[in-house]
């Protein structure tokens, strides 16, 4: 018995892809009908909606935090303004003239000028 050599050699493994491709097929035993599809789509929409709502609520919670901080800033600004007004009142000419330091001051007897 003799064997004739072919021009090209292909191993079985190389040939197997093409040769056995339709030999088996997976078929699921579970079949989804139109109701199941509808439910799944509804669930997906619900989940996405919940995610959106979570994010929107989180953004809104930041708004309340921002509002709180704004209120604090406004209050501190008001306090700062009050202190500035008080400072201006305390350093006003009348307040200075009536201070104990001013009352202790005397008129200079004479003035010398550096030339």
């Amino acid at each position: 018995m003799s064997y004739q050599r072919t021009q090209q050699f292909s191993s079985r493994r190389q040939q197997g892809w093409n040769r056995n491709q339709n030999t088996t097929r997976f078929v699921s035993a579970i079949k989804l009908g139109p109701v199941a599809h509808t439910v799944i789509v509804a669930l997906m929409i619900t989940v996405l909606g919940l995610i959106y709502l979570t994010q929107a609520t989180r953004a809104t919670s930041y708004d309340y935090q921002a509002k709180e901080i704004d209120s604090q800033i406004a209050e501190l600004t008001t306090k700062k303004g009050d202190l500035e007004v008080e400072n201006a009142r305390l350093t006003a000419l009348e307040a200075v003239q009536n201070s104990s330091v001013a009352r202790e001051m005397t008129q200079p007897a004479s003035t010398e000028y550096a030339r």
Binding site: A59, K67, G81, V85, A88
Partner: protein
């Protein structure tokens, strides 16, 4: 498995009902969301989207304290306490608490106000401080609320009241810089458009939110020096008390740049209590709003004009007979006895009208105040010294005064002879002072100004405005030097007794006749004094005016002491060194 719905089965009926309901929903949603879309969007926006105004803060006003700006007008947040009588139950607790904490800010009849159950808003107290408001809030009184209000506060009380003006209940500036610079001071309100929750808290959701921040008003710095202003007001009050005069005004200027260092008027008021003022005349800044016949102060300008035109020198002579004829009128001197051949310096020293009319005549043909003389005088008074025109000072209510042009029938020789010694024209003190500055500073006219510059938003950097002369060479430098020397001599001759030695202080008295019901009256004259002081050069110009109903007030007796008082104090304040 194949699902089948049999004809007439309950499942089929249910399916038809469900489909029918779905169809109803679809149609209804189509109607609401498509056809009524705009209407419901607008309705939702009106409920959810709020447009909130962000109020701009009114700019502060500063004065100078030497070279340092200090606050003269600030803003303060105060609180108005209001109640809803309909929901108030414990009235006695509310009244006790409010009286205990708010004290004098409480309205007198809050018991009656709280009994007005048919109303929903009653103001119980105003102008509460933040501390008072916080204390009342801690009591957690039902039916009580607070409203924030911004108001002007004046740490220096009534200082420079007429220069500042005030802000009325509507937030509009009245009088002074508050009115003149209202647009700059008030700024521009901002706007916040946003979706809000039920508590009006702005939310970031939504795609039409707008945040346009408010632009606060400029913080302006005045040239007014609070120390000079305070002393000027004190000196004026003392002077009026001593003379019995009812009204008085003073302006203190820097002749080197036209900056007003002080501007005082009496009677005055406190801007924080503007609503208590009985006579609105107290709001007026007479220095700029009340033109008057300036009288003999103008002789300094007439002399300067004659020097500049070369028709006189200080030692030029003329024959004084204590009267001089101009057309059909005879003009006399108030001070008589200096007859004979006298110098122009003597004429100025004794404030002789005849000398000034002689200068006017010499501007013409030497014998009459002809058209050439009148044109020359008008050119100096109107075009160079700015009489009859507003100076442009940054204060509300400035008046231009009146000066009659020679082209008009009333602008005849008689009028111009009167104008030579300060009658026949109405000028403000600001106009006269600014003109006087120009004849003693070398001949440069500066606009009188109360604006020194602006303070930055963070209130740390003072940006000073540059000063530009309005007109240069109003008179020549040599004429200015001669005029200054003559004014110095006019004071030294009679009035320098109380001056600090070693300083150059010059000035001129003025006593102005007044017009009542269109006629000059003999029983009422205004006293003025216009002068300068300094060391090697003029450092300040002071003009004083005192007046009173049915009072004969004189410049030398009643206005001059106020000038001298302020002048001597200015020398110390400016730390000027004596000559020699």
């Amino acid at each position: 498995m194949k699902l089948e719905i049999q004809k007439g089965s309950r499942s089929k009926i249910l399916a038809i009902i469900v489909v029918g309901l779905m169809a109803v929903f679809v149609v209804r949603l189509f109607y609401l969301q498509i056809i009524k879309h705009d209407e419901y969007v607008a309705l939702a926006n009106s409920e959810q989207v709020k447009r909130l105004t962000i109020p701009a803060k009114r700019g502060l006003i500063y004065a100078m304290d030497g070279t340092r700006p200090v606050e003269l007008v600030l803003n303060e947040t105060v609180y108005t306490l209001f109640a809803d009588p309909k929901i108030i139950k414990d009235k006695s607790k509310i009244t006790d608490t409010i009286h205990r904490i708010a004290g004098g800010n409480v309205r007198p009849n809050i018991d009656v106000l709280l009994d007005k159950k048919e109303t929903r808003y009653q103001i119980l107290a105003t102008k509460l401080s933040r501390a008072q408001a916080e204390l009342i809030k801690k009591e957690k009184l039902a039916g009580i609320g607070f409203q924030e209000v911004s108001q002007r506060v004046y740490p220096e009380g009534g200082l420079a009241a007429q220069t500042l003006g005030f802000v009325n209940a509507e937030g509009i500036g009245q009088y002074g810089v508050e009115s003149k610079l209202d647009a700059r001071l008030k700024g521009e309100d901002g706007m916040l458009q946003s979706v809000t929750d039920v508590s009006n808290v702005p939310l970031t959701i939504g795609d039409r939110n707008v945040h346009d921040p408010a632009k606060n008003g400029d913080n302006v710095v005045l040239t007014i020096d609070r120390n000079i202003q305070a002393y000027t007001e004190k000196a004026l009050a003392t002077g009026l008390q001593q003379t019995g005069a009812q009204k008085g005004s003073v302006i203190v200027m820097n002749p080197e740049n036209g900056r007003v260092m002080a501007m005082a008027n009496l009677p005055t008021y406190k801007p924080a209590e503007f609503n208590k003022v009985q006579d609105a005349d107290a709001f007026n800044n007479a220095v700029i709003t009340s033109p008057y016949e300036p009288g003999s102060d103008i002789k300094t300008l007439t002399v300067a004009m004659g020097l500049d035109k070369g028709v006189i020198e200080p030692n030029s002579t003329f024959v004084n007979t204590d009267s001089i004829k101009v057309e059909d009128r005879t003009i006399g001197n108030a001070t008589k006895g200096q007859t004979g051949t006298i110098t122009m310096q003597t004429a100025l020293n004794y404030s002789l009208n005849t000398g000034m009319v002689t200068i006017a005549q010499r501007l013409g043909d030497g014998k009459s105040i002809n058209a050439n003389a009148r044109n020359t005088m008008y050119e100096y008074f109107h075009d160079r010294f700015g009489f009859g025109m507003k100076t442009g000072i940054e204060l509300a209510g400035e008046q231009p005064g009146t000066i009659i042009a020679p082209t008009r029938q009333e602008g005849n020789a008689v009028r111009y002879s009167n104008m030579a010694f300060g009658q026949g024209m109405d000028l403000t003190m600001a106009q006269v002072s600014a003109a006087f500055c120009s004849i003693i500073n070398g001949g440069t006219y500066f606009k009188p100004t109360v604006l020194a510059g602006t303070m930055s938003v963070d209130r740390k950097t003072f940006k000073e405005d540059t000063v530009q002369p309005v007109r240069s060479a109003v008179i020549s430098p040599s004429s200015s030097a001669k005029a200054r020397a003559m004014v110095y001599e006019a004071r030294t001759k009679f009035y320098a007794g109380k001056d600090k030695p070693g300083y150059e202080i010059g000035g001129k008295t003025g006593t102005s006749q007044t017009i009542v019901n269109g006629k000059y009256v003999d029983n009422q004259t205004d006293g003025t004094y216009l002068g300068y002081g300094g060391d090697d050069r003029p450092r300040y110009v002071i003009m004083v005016q005192v007046s009173g109903k049915n009072m004969n007030l004189e410049g030398g007796k009643h206005a001059l002491p106020i000038f001298t008082d302020i002048s001597n104090w200015m020398i110390d304040y400016l730390k000027l060194q004596p000559k020699g």
